[in-house]
């Protein structure tokens, strides 16, 4: 079974608390071998607070061996991650799954 998160259009300081609550509620536990799909289809804007949530999520997913899957990742998100030196942490395989190294 895989969990799914839809990122809002504006994933910034005003939205991070809601997103966090919703993701935290559905985040699979350790050893569940589940995947977490992050749908970026609606995403239009992200700030450093949004990136921080993604960084924490990526870190915890790695710890819990949950496969993170970004869907419909927009180019600007890659650019923002790049600008913050976080692109490597979200390096995705060709099938959109985050590599856990």
């Amino acid at each position: 079974m895989s969990a799914r998160v839809d990122l809002p259009a504006e994933f910034n300081i005003y939205a991070v608390a809601d997103v966090w609550r919703s993701v935290n509620a559905g985040l699979p536990g350790a050893g569940s071998s589940d995947a977490l799909a992050i749908d970026c289809a609606q995403l239009r804007e992200i700030d450093a607070a949004g990136v921080q949530v993604l960084l924490s999520l990526a870190h915890t997913a790695r710890q819990r061996a949950i496969a993170l899957q970004f869907e419909s990742m927009p180019a600007f998100l890659s650019e923002r991650l790049q600008a913050l030196g976080a692109a490597d942490l979200f390096a995705t395989s060709h099938d959109g799954e985050t590599r856990h190294e």
């Binding site: 608390a17 997103v19 450093a48 607070a49 949530v53 710890q63 600008a83 030196g85 942490l89």
Partner: protein, 742 residues
């Protein structure tokens, strides 16, 4: 800046640059004895760096370019990448000489002379030789290319980017700030080469407070912006954010160079660092606030420099440089408090006036004594004492230690010994001995000749010394001490001594000594001071040209001094130079002969005999003998010597004087007592009168002549020797007659 000010600044630069060259030489000499002395290595580097930096200000690209290579080699030496062996030391000496040559060239070019092309060629040669020590490829560069390299080459250092270490505060997001926007702003200052986000401080997802900022970044930024400009990116988040801005290596080197060469006189470490751009004012204030949070005296209170380095606010090298500069500033402040620079002509004027005051005071005392008014006499005596103190004080202003002059000879001995393949060590004694600046200025050249002579003629080669049972390394001692109111400078060597047979043969060949004559050893030794005299088999560029020793004697005598030489065959030679402490004022003893007044320098006076009667010698002879405490003292009758009609009815008096080890009596009419006197030079007409050293004006307005005790004792001694000779001949004839009669 007006032309005048610029010219003054240039003149100051040339003088300072030469001092820096002296500093290089002196540090090198000291480093030969203690190669690990870090302070000396730093001083060496600083001197070259100062020359380069200041030369750049005046557009002297050739000097900048050449000194840059020297500085590079010194930097590597300082870093311990290369060591200072004899060949490197010698090369650095050559470089120092070359810098001086370039400075001279630059100075004359300013005066309209064309630059000397050989100087540029020599630069290229030295740069090639320096290459192994600078780590550069051995390609000769023209100074212009080298000058460009001095500016551009340093850009090729490993770390050419600024490093920013950012830790945002928890409330950054809540306060409405976005670190992403700040990083984007940084990108407008230059090029963000890399960004690394720190994930470790970000809590696990379930523990995350998403509205609190846990972000930290390590950023590499290439920009020409200043630290202040970079820091301005964080103006709005300054309160909640920790920012460390670490300059690129090139910038650190520039900062260190700036600190070392700017002459920043600030007393506080923080101010020096802020002024150089190593830290910003805000960083300093923050650091000081942190430091001051711990009360002064508390053992946990951290020193500012330590804190700045530990917190990576300032590079350690910059803090080290600033601390050194701070210490220098303190020393300079102390030095400044101790010294005032005064133009020497102003000082001369003061001393001249003090001289006139001394004369006026002496005159007043004489007039007061004539009145027999005890209160007036007491007042004038009291004033005289004060004037004496003023005189001593004024004269001491001109006194400088001879050590600076002596120190130059370390290099001379080192170089000359090297050229002659001899091993010689120089020992300096009494460097602190003070004498008048004008005497010091004039004694350098004669000393130079005597020291070179000692090495060239006196000193044997190491093999010859070994064969003679001496240590391979010869010894030259340069000493100075106060003696009999003057200064005695000695140049002693433990060489082969004067080869009298050679000297005598040469003297006979030159017609200085009659063939078959047998002069005394001391007379033979002193023949080397005769004009055109040299026994060197071959002429070297050091000595042996036969011009010099007579000039040495003339120069020393021109300073009212005397030079003597003593030699022990196989044991060494000692040249003694006796000089007056000052050329301006002397304490004299006033005497009268007929209607003339004479002044005898008091330092030469041993005793006075009033009404001496036991004088011998014919009535018309200049000299005679006096039986003094069972010893015969040669005397000079001043009246006969100078053709003065003496008061025949008077019992004559004798002033016993000493010059070095020789004593003589001067027969005079009246003893008038001690008298301070200002020496006035003799006119051209009287300059060659034997027995007179100068003149003075007495309190009465009358002219007094200052006696030259050196020549008078010589006259007396010559006469005594003649008497001795005659007596010897007479007694041997008498013995011969007795023998014949027997």
């Amino acid at each position: 800046m007006s032309e005048d000010i610029l010219d003054q600044a240039r003149a100051l630069f040339f003088a300072e640059a030469r001092e820096m060259c002296e500093q290089i030489e002196s540090s090198l000499l000291q480093l030969e004895e203690d190669p690990a002395d870090r302070e000396l290595l730093n001083a060496l580097f600083r001197a070259a760096h100062t020359i380069k930096g200041s030369a750049g200000l005046f557009g002297l690209d050739a000097v900048v370019g050449f000194t840059h290579h020297v500085e590079n080699s010194l930097d590597r030496l300082r870093e311990g990448l290369i060591s200072l062996d004899i060949s490197f030391t010698s090369l650095l000496f050559e470089c120092s000489d070359h810098i001086k040559l370039m400075l001279r060239d630059a100075e004359s070019a300013r005066d309209g002379a064309a630059p000397d092309p050989s100087v540029e060629q020599a630069s290229g040669g030295l740069v090639v030789r320096l290459a192994p020590f600078t780590g550069a490829s051995a390609v000769a560069q023209s100074p212009a290319v080298a000058a460009a390299a001095a500016g551009a080459g340093e850009a090729l250092t490993d770390n050419k980017n600024w490093h920013l270490s950012l830790r945002f505060g928890k409330d950054t997001f809540r306060d409405g700030f976005d670190p992403l926007a700040i990083i984007n702003y940084l990108a407008t200052l230059g090029e963000v080469m890399s960004v690394r986000v720190l994930t470790e401080p970000i809590p696990a997802f379930d523990a995350l407070d998403p509205e609190s900022c846990h972000l930290g970044f390590e950023i590499s930024l290439q920009t020409s912006a200043s630290k202040e400009q970079i820091e301005s990116a964080f103006d709005l988040v300054r309160e909640s954010c920790t920012v460390r801005i670490i300059p690129p290596d090139r910038r650190v080197a520039d900062i260190v160079a700036l600190i070392e060469s700017s002459g920043n006189g600030a007393a506080h470490l923080g101010d020096i660092l802020v002024d150089s751009g190593a830290i910003t004012r805000h960083e300093l204030e923050q650091a000081l606030a942190t430091q001051n949070a711990v009360p002064a005296g508390d053992t946990t209170r951290v020193l500012l420099g330590e804190m700045l380095v530990k917190e990576r606010i300032a590079p350690a090298t910059a803090v080290d440089a600033a601390l050194t500069q701070q210490t220098r500033n303190r020393d300079a402040k102390t030095e400044e408090a101790r010294f005032v620079r005064v133009r020497s002509d102003k000082l001369d004027e003061l001393i001249n006036l003090v001289g006139e005051l001394v004369i006026a005071s002496a005159g007043t005392t004489i007039q007061a004594q004539k009145t027999r008014d005890s209160a007036l006499v007491e007042s004038t005596l009291s004033m005289g004492r004060l004037i004496e103190e003023i005189r001593n004080g004024a004269l001491s202003l001109r006194m400088v230690p001879i050590g600076e002059t002596f120190a130059k000879f370390k290099r001379v001995v080192r170089d000359v010994a090297g050229e002659l393949a001899k091993e010689v060590s120089l020992e300096i004694i009494g460097a602190e001995t003070e004498l008048d600046k004008s005497v010091v200025e004039h004694i350098g050249d004669p000393l130079m000749h005597l020291v070179r002579n000692a090495l060239d003629h006196g000193m044997e080669t190491p093999d010859e010394r070994e064969a003679a049972g001496k240590p391979r390394c010869g010894r030259v001692v340069l000493s100075a001490c106060h003696d009999s109111g003057g200064i005695l400078i000695k140049i002693e060597d433990d060489g082969r001594g004067i080869r009298r047979d050679k000297v005598l043969a040469k003297a006979i060949e030159k017609g200085l000594v009659a063939p078959g004559a047998t002069p005394a050893d001391s007379e033979i030794d002193n023949l080397i001071f005769e004009a055109g005299f040299s026994t060197a088999d071959k002429v070297t560029n050091l000595s042996g040209r036969g011009v010099g020793m007579d000039v040495v004697r003339r120069n020393i005598e021109g300073l009212r001094g005397a030079v003597r030489i003593q030699s022990v065959t196989g044991g060494g030679t000692t040249v003694s130079i006796r000089l007056p402490l000052t050329l301006a004022i002397i304490d004299g003893f006033l005497v009268r002969v007929g209607d003339c007044s004479f002044v005898i320098p008091l330092s030469h006076v041993i005793e006075c005999i009033d009404g001496a009667t036991a004088l011998t010698g014919a009535a018309n002879e200049t000299t005679g003998m006096l039986a003094l405490r069972d010893a015969a003292l040669p005397v000079v009758h001043l009246n006969r010597m100078f053709g003065i009609k003496a008061e025949s009815s008077l019992r004559q008096s004798v002033v016993v004087v000493r010059n070095g080890t020789e004593k003589a009596g001067l027969v005079v009419d009246h003893l008038l007592g001690e008298f301070q006197t200002v020496i006035k030079p003799l006119g051209k007409m009287f300059r060659n009168v034997r027995g007179i050293a100068g003149s003075t004006i007495l309190g009465s307005g009358e002219v007094g002549l200052i006696l030259d005790i050196g020549s008078l004792t010589e006259i007396a001694r010559a006469q005594a020797d003649a008497h001795e000779h005659q007596r010897g001949s007479a007694s041997s004839s008498q013995r011969g007659a007795d023998h014949a009669n027997a």
